[in-house]
Symmetry: D2
Subunit: 351 residues, 4 copies
Amino acid sequence: MVKVGIIGATGYAGNELVRLLMGHKEARIVWYGSRSYIDKRYADVYRNMFQIVDDVCKDDRMEELARTADVIFTATPQGFLAGVLTEEILRQTRIIDLSADYRIKDVSIYEAWYQIEHKSPQFIGEAVYGLCEINRDRVKGARLIANPGCYTTCSILTAYPLVKEGLIDTDTLIIDAKSGTSGAGRGAKLPNLFCEVNENMKAYGVASHRHTPEIEEQLSYAAKAAVTVNFTPHLVPMNRGILVTEYASLKRKADGSLPSYEEIKSIYDKYYENEKFVRVLERGLCPETKWVEGSNYVDIGFTVDERTGRVIMMGALDNLVKGAAGQAVQNMNLLFGFEESEGLELVPMFP
Amino acid sequence: MVKVGIIGATGYAGNELVRLLMGHKEARIVWYGSRSYIDKRYADVYRNMFQIVDDVCKDDRMEELARTADVIFTATPQGFLAGVLTEEILRQTRIIDLSADYRIKDVSIYEAWYQIEHKSPQFIGEAVYGLCEINRDRVKGARLIANPGCYTTCSILTAYPLVKEGLIDTDTLIIDAKSGTSGAGRGAKLPNLFCEVNENMKAYGVASHRHTPEIEEQLSYAAKAAVTVNFTPHLVPMNRGILVTEYASLKRKADGSLPSYEEIKSIYDKYYENEKFVRVLERGLCPETKWVEGSNYVDIGFTVDERTGRVIMMGALDNLVKGAAGQAVQNMNLLFGFEESEGLELVPMFP
Amino acid sequence: MVKVGIIGATGYAGNELVRLLMGHKEARIVWYGSRSYIDKRYADVYRNMFQIVDDVCKDDRMEELARTADVIFTATPQGFLAGVLTEEILRQTRIIDLSADYRIKDVSIYEAWYQIEHKSPQFIGEAVYGLCEINRDRVKGARLIANPGCYTTCSILTAYPLVKEGLIDTDTLIIDAKSGTSGAGRGAKLPNLFCEVNENMKAYGVASHRHTPEIEEQLSYAAKAAVTVNFTPHLVPMNRGILVTEYASLKRKADGSLPSYEEIKSIYDKYYENEKFVRVLERGLCPETKWVEGSNYVDIGFTVDERTGRVIMMGALDNLVKGAAGQAVQNMNLLFGFEESEGLELVPMFP
Amino acid sequence: MVKVGIIGATGYAGNELVRLLMGHKEARIVWYGSRSYIDKRYADVYRNMFQIVDDVCKDDRMEELARTADVIFTATPQGFLAGVLTEEILRQTRIIDLSADYRIKDVSIYEAWYQIEHKSPQFIGEAVYGLCEINRDRVKGARLIANPGCYTTCSILTAYPLVKEGLIDTDTLIIDAKSGTSGAGRGAKLPNLFCEVNENMKAYGVASHRHTPEIEEQLSYAAKAAVTVNFTPHLVPMNRGILVTEYASLKRKADGSLPSYEEIKSIYDKYYENEKFVRVLERGLCPETKWVEGSNYVDIGFTVDERTGRVIMMGALDNLVKGAAGQAVQNMNLLFGFEESEGLELVPMFP
């Protein structure tokens, strides 16, 4: 039984980790870390956990926790983990970081987009970007996993096969993303009030959202060339779910024709046919966030537009599961050699 | 492994049965019955089930199904089961009926409220009302279970201990209930359109809703006297969840005083302390539907109003789980001697 | 042209006042008071007002404002107006107070329910409770109007004719109320976040909500006897709208029979037939909040339950219009002798 | 007083026409046409109109109506008007068609995208595309106005100045649009049920939506060259509102630099500074649908992305007002020489 510690257990992602780990056969939570609610019963912060979790919240004492837990999930604000991480800690435990601290290899890019000084760049090198479907093998031996962002997971997985196989002109790639509101966190801020979000829609962080460089870095690895994209997130009045719509010009074949639907489909299948958590939809279907809600699935669909020569790729996931806690558990399963889907056999809930 | 057949598998309750049974260790679905979608893949009707369910929908052939399945769930319109049920069928299989056909013992009351002729009243007598927490023992040996309605389960469980122990004057009992929209089913009707329901609220079926006599019958058993109530359902713009707010005058004690909070709490605890799926909240807390969403829990809270001498009782559940499919699985577990919570260890999903 | 000042212009009710007054032929806003946003452009706080309102927000200087404005609307927290009001101010201007400071005649009741000391009880006596349909004549000459609460307006108007005419036993009156979230205000508080409210429902303030004594006082005047009620508010995931469902036992006639539907309807018509803003629905119809959204209407319906001897009365209004700003403008119209519906000819918006 | 007839008065756009025309000083509705509800009171179909509209619905008798009404609004399914329109009708009245029948000049394109035979192509030539801000002068003398689609109005107005002035490479234009659900109409269809739409998001009509050729035609006029775009609509769980996010590569100047924010802003101002209903937001602001809800405004914002050389343009409107009924009334005002904003001085409602 793996002993799990969570720092940031009272955010929405933290609560989702708790929900998933309650159903995990090989893991037991030993530390509910939450600086805001120290000594308060966890079930008083999240009353869905009444009679399920009896523990009280504890402080963020990483060093003590490192001696106690086999793995620590940090669902914390940017900069927290970078500020406290030490070699001593990494020698004693494994860390799956849900923040962005170790996702970006070039520390100057991190510091430019996040407007924050990175306090422990020495660990960036060894951190493995935990997008399981792509980095599965490297995750297995890691001490430090950088769990991908929610928008990022969806954006990358949706385009990855076509980028990797060189089917699209990556200079033309545009990602228009839409997210439910749980991605904004549980902070009591005016723009997240019900009456401000409900019956409303807007773009935000246009040309400046922090997930942009993370997407670009990973797609650049796939393309083996620098990829620059437009990424535009939107806030939508629903709790959970991310939908991305991605546009790119298809490279024409030698005879000037576009790749066919079947050719593109076979590329997707090449990468995802055996991936339990990536479902490539059948022809003509567009993903819907509701079809994956509460589950670890990513649903992907695409359409070829002969008129414009573009492919429109679409992906949907639950931002708190595959976009955060579910992927973190998937990484834990890889780290400890469990069945990769252990604790993640969640059937999407409809409606 | 118990072989399960579902008639009405493509309604919302049917889909929820499928979701729950996918996670049940002892059961396997062998028949997805849906007259509207015969020969269509189930996952084409409910795309959340893509790559999870490969079966196609079948017709409602109860007699064939009775020979195939160990248990049949009927999530069908009123009158369907009563129209097809035979002794032959009951000899071969067990039936858990999610419709109202066998919930009411007095057939004339059924016919008056449902405006439908009952075609097989001969089976009403043996049918067991499957409110597990109250009728657990009788469920175990039954051939035919009348699974309670969603409003009913919530309304009864919330008031049951105080009615049973005679703490309230049942003549004063008023039940004001609010429900998410999935309770209205998946029929394509104008009043259930998004734009008609969203940002709207209304009462309906005032003084005439069909769940009224079912609530009255069960509470009458508890009170050992005829109970007549006002039951008013309301439609609320959300997918899942029922909340009931019940009002009743407390009987004063010999000295003229009201029962104290502690006295009432101890009565609730007497009935529910050992019930896994009923959570009596701590003092001052009111149930919220979100805390039980996706789970089989009923959350109950209450307040004593010294000014009016009334107790206000509140209960919340997920209408598709404890209010329908979850309770049906719980009944199946009792029928077959499985762990009562098998397949139902669902942690509520928040947000 | 009447010069209007608003204190608390940046709350939701304040913004609704601005919306309504923009369409009022006889009024012009001269002061957008908002302590939190002093010197900030109003349209930067409420961007719906871009290119419509060019003013900047000002401080709460009541004395200066009293010299400037013909009427002041105070949409402020409890206790604010009571803390600053003086005879000097009342000599110079008229005040329509959207807070509760002068709604309750018995200061000890105010202080008990609001847990706040009343700083200027000397003005309570002259304040007129601005429920226009009931107190129209007294409003006309007043210096200080106590604009009713949102729940209160709906609760009182729904029951008023039957209480006034003695048709119901007021000891049995129970008010179950449901409200959209704008009633909770624009404060950045965790329970009002989108993800906490959406897909959720709960009761709150059970047996302790501050609108209770206000309802009781007004219904007591109607009944000419003390009325004590249960009032239970609920929070519903929608922006606007209040729905009340009220239960009371009908008094039987000398022959033991209940009053008929027609008899009750004629009582409602007696009071409301000529009231523009109260619409008594036709037989069998239940009010829906969407039918009044954005307008100053209250819709009322009722059902007689022969089985229980009770009448179920239902009322719906838009909490920001008839429940706040609309009624305030209606009071202003009465005060200044304008057409009572001036600025309030708002057709409900659907959907 | 202009006499107005409406065919299709019981759709959502029809109901919005009624709402707006109730507040119009110069117009009076004389015909509520609705084939589905003939002889039924209009207020029984839309209860928000109770005590506001007393009329009953009539049949679609265009010829009789042409003799009665000064102007007819047709809010009807595709093909209806083309099937009944005659020279005789056009001699007697004016028509503002909210369907797509006369929006597209090339009848073969209409027939290809709508999959319907056009029954009266002889009138296409004279029909004026009623996008008021662009075609104001031509609208004034017309007999037949083709009122633009909701997505179309928003998509065109957002990009128009930059296309017209040649600032962007139109080959790169991509329009990602999101719409509330009222755009799907009031038909009782399964995909529009509350539980299917709520907490869900999806793209639809990818590379095939019928508003595409309409956008392309109008932008081609502006560009004086053929424009082909990707247009992808999405369904969002809210009642009203369209948001478009448009991407295009900016043409570089002779020195290789991009046009500055100020240069682009001045282009927008050139076209829209004096347009009452188009609000170009200040730097850094993104439009939100809630800021225009219930009003005739289009809000527009944009961001220049130096990294990719693209401009991201965003536009928001209320699909039932500026996207349908409001624009139709604006066209009527132009036709009859009324103040262009008569009946449209609607302050957006928030929240």
